[in-house]
């Protein structure tokens, strides 16, 4: 009986190493080969400058490919195009600043969230933090989800501007990672929260879990990468 338990435990441990496997062998193919990555612009996560990809997720994908000894072959397009390509397994990985609530998740597999971002209401660091934002004039980028949320969910007065990073001496609704950079401080009012994810083909579980292990190991570097992106000209 004890022997049986030991054998069972050994089998389980061995299985932990090889399970799960990919039905289509993505991980094995990518290792020491080519990682076919799709990119759709969504700054600061993904950016295309003269066809050259950059951004937080691009940096992460390059590091991941390096770990696997693979070279990245980038394909750019709209999310819909890239998802369609991924469904027929023409792409192994998709980065587009996707969040965990993406509607694509019945067509592609999404990873665990590797970064959480918030849109916060912040005030200049030298001003006192108001107890309540009711009636407060808050600058917010026109045509964004944050603008709508500020309008509907709070009692603040939304002042729509083309670019919040240029606003001075006013409360603003900005991405959390810009707060320090712009000399602001968080009022504690958070408009929305997003879990950032990447996407892989459905069912390629070895590849998916390998990517997730990489993201878990490197998620601590995301704030620094975001900061670097924000400081970039």
């Amino acid at each position: 009986m004890h022997l049986l338990a030991v054998v069972l435990a050994a089998v389980l441990l061995a299985a932990c190493g090889v399970v799960p496997r990919d039905p289509e062998g993505t991980l094995d193919r990518v290792r020491s080969g080519t990682l076919r990555a799709g990119i759709s612009q969504h700054e600061p996560w993904t950016r295309l400058e003269a066809g050259q990809p950059s951004g937080v997720e691009v940096r992460l994908v390059e590091r991941f490919a390096q770990e696997l000894g693979a070279t990245v072959q980038w394909t750019d397009g709209s999310e819909a195009e890239l998802v369609a390509a991924m469904e027929v397994r023409e792409l192994d990985l998709l980065v587009a600043g996707l969040t965990a609530d993406t509607p694509w998740q019945t067509k592609v597999a999404i990873t665990r969230g590797y970064a959480t971002t918030r849109v916060v209401v912040a005030v200049p660091a030298d001003q006192p933090v108001p107890a309540d934002i009711a009636g407060l004039r808050v600058a917010v980028e026109d045509g964004t989800e944050a603008a709508g949320l500020l309008e509907e969910k709070t009692d603040a007065v939304a002042v729509r501007v083309p670019d919040v990073t240029r606003v001075r001496d006013s409360a603003v609704a900005v991405d959390e990672w810009l707060v320090d950079l712009l000399g602001l401080k968080d009022t504690g009012v958070h408009l929305h929260k997003a879990e950032h994810v990447m996407a892989t083909p459905l069912g390629e579980n070895a590849f998916l879990t390998r990517l997730e292990r990489f993201l878990i190991a490197h998620q601590g570097e995301v704030p620094a990468l975001l900061d670097a992106e924000a400081r970039a000209p």
Binding site: A109, G203, N205
Partner: protein, 331 residues
């Protein structure tokens, strides 16, 4: 015409078994709720997990039906419900089996269409405790094991009680418990299949499970409809007709003043209610004779809850089954 009305349904020894069954069913519900939560937390995108989860949720129906029925059926008859509340058990049974059938069909459709679309189920990592990520598949297997093993034991405990109490809802529940370990086993094979890169294993396992659920539902629905149609009483596992009506008929025919007798019984929940028609040789002390016969017959079996004995001039027997849906004329 004699009538005896006694609405304490169960003799004392059976009552003790009922108390035990009620306790077992409450325990089942509590356990199933924990299994349902556990499976929900590890559901992921596995089709087989979803099927096993749904079956566990449906597994709540028979115990719930049993417990509700155990409360309601004891109520005495009143003017609005002159026949009492025994049949609440059949109603509970009918609704439970309808739910079973409908959900089985739904999961079957869902799984087969996923199989047809070649959908590969993704299962990723989770961090249940601390910083070590674990493949969700392992947690699924653990949750499925938890939802399988106690069911086997519960099923084995319930089945003899169901036989003793002649309770079909309890029997159906015990059957479902026994079938559930197979469900969990099939789901485990599906998850292990995904682990080894066999994307289809999951949907195939889910289809097998759903066929099993459909089968359960269909079987129980037939029995429930039969009961509501006043089909001849059967033994608790529905394998054959209950011998009680024939026994009563023999007992009646054996009485010296009875020339011919015919008995029809129906199942109301777990008791039998019905009529006996007798052709007396003469009218002497007819009321007294009928009354004594009734008392004697009621001692035959505790399940014989109410028997109306009616004297008639002659007996027209019903046609044998399969002789078409013709009128089964009765005196």
């Amino acid at each position: 015409m004699t009538q005896e009305r006694d609405h304490r349904e169960l003799p004392p020894d059976k009552h003790r078994l009922l108390v035990k069954a009620v306790r077992l069913e409450w325990f089942s519900i509590g356990y199933l709720l924990t299994a349902i939560v556990l499976l929900y937390l590890t559901l992921g995108s596995s089709q087989a997990m979803k099927a096993a989860w749904v079956e566990d949720i449906l597994g709540l129906l028979p115990p719930a039906a049993f417990l509700i029925a155990a409360r309601v059926r004891r109520r005495s008859p009143n003017e609005r419900f002159p026949y009492g509340y025994h049949r609440v058990t059949s109603v509970a049974f009918l609704s439970a089996s309808m739910a079973l059938l409908a959900l089985g069909v739904f999961i079957l459709y869902d799984s087969v269409s996923k199989l047809a679309r070649f959908e590969h189920p993704p299962i990723d990592l989770v961090k249940p405790i601390g910083d070590d990520p674990v493949w969700l598949g392992w947690l699924m297997l653990a949750a499925l094991a938890y939802s399988a093993v106690p069911q086997v034991v519960l099923g084995r405990l319930k089945q003899p009680l169901a036989r003793e109490l002649h309770d079909k809802v309890l029997f159906a529940d015990a059957e479902m418990n026994r079938a559930d370990w197979m469900t969990a086993g099939a789901a485990m094979l599906g998850v292990v299949g995904i682990g080894f890169g066999l994307w289809w294993a999951d949907a195939v396992a889910a289809s097998v499970i759903s066929v099993n659920i459909v089968h359960d539902g269909y079987k129980n629905l037939r029995v429930a409809l039969g009961d509501l149609m006043d089909k001849e009483p059967t033994v608790v596992d529905h394998s054959r007709a209950d011998p009680l009506p024939k026994r009563i008929e023999h007992e009646l025919r054996a009485l010296p003043w009875v020339r011919d007798a015919e008995v029809r019984l129906r199942e109301e929940g777990h008791v039998f209610i019905g009529e006996a028609f007798v052709v007396p040789t003469d009218d002497e002390d007819l009321v007294g004779r009928l009354d004594r016969a009734n008392q004697q017959l009621r001692k035959l079996d505790w399940r014989l809850h109410e028997l109306v004995i009616a004297p008639v001039p002659e007996i027209a027997r019903p046609e044998p089954a399969g002789g078409g849906a013709g009128d089964q004329a009765r005196p």
